[in-house]
Symmetry: C2
Subunit: 137 residues, 2 copies
Amino acid sequence: MSGTVAGTFEAAREGVETGESRRLISADKVEGTAVFNREGERLGTVEDVMLDKISGRVAFAVMSFGGFLGIGEQYHPLPWSTLNYDVQLGGYVVDMTREQLSGAPSYAAGSDVDLNDDTYGKRVYDYYKAPYWNAGI
Amino acid sequence: MSGTVAGTFEAAREGVETGESRRLISADKVEGTAVFNREGERLGTVEDVMLDKISGRVAFAVMSFGGFLGIGEQYHPLPWSTLNYDVQLGGYVVDMTREQLSGAPSYAAGSDVDLNDDTYGKRVYDYYKAPYWNAGI
């Protein structure tokens, strides 16, 4: 949305820039943030954050990579817990090599992958060895 | 972000438009959605979604109202659970009268209200009779 948010948002954003001293972050701030692997290679950008309507939990952060203006773009759904902010890089670091990430579940723009499907969702979480966001399933 | 997201996002968005049949929603889709009271009066717009970095939970949806291009705007932090999507209105309904909402915690753009402050946060949640998002506190 607009950049004219309340002081508290700015404070939360500064917190990220100065070392994650604040607990809360705006979804706006997350989206558009670069994602690197642990070798510092840029892998993509957080494109969107998918929320569970009922519980208000982040089900997936979706990283986009490749393509141009959305054409040919690929999406990597990521468990929230895989994203660790690195102040020096100014982006998130996913603790995987490029090879590990290339084998992770991903899909092309326009594919019929459904993040609402728990079978797919669990496969994503299993790949990253993270406990499934919807643990009740 | 761009409108050129994966098919699955579109499906999730359609789900909202056709009656919340899908469980997940994009934070992008939440932001910018109108908020009404139960009399159908428009109260404002969801401006942002504040996430807890650690748990990946939505701590607050922040509704903006009034002002122009961010000047004079007021912000209402809302517990996620207060927002119920209404297909006919095409927006969220908060089950409160305008009077009840006018007495709710809010702040002006540029104020020093800090949503990271649990004392303030709990006051917000108490007002809406919702269990505090960070129940461990």
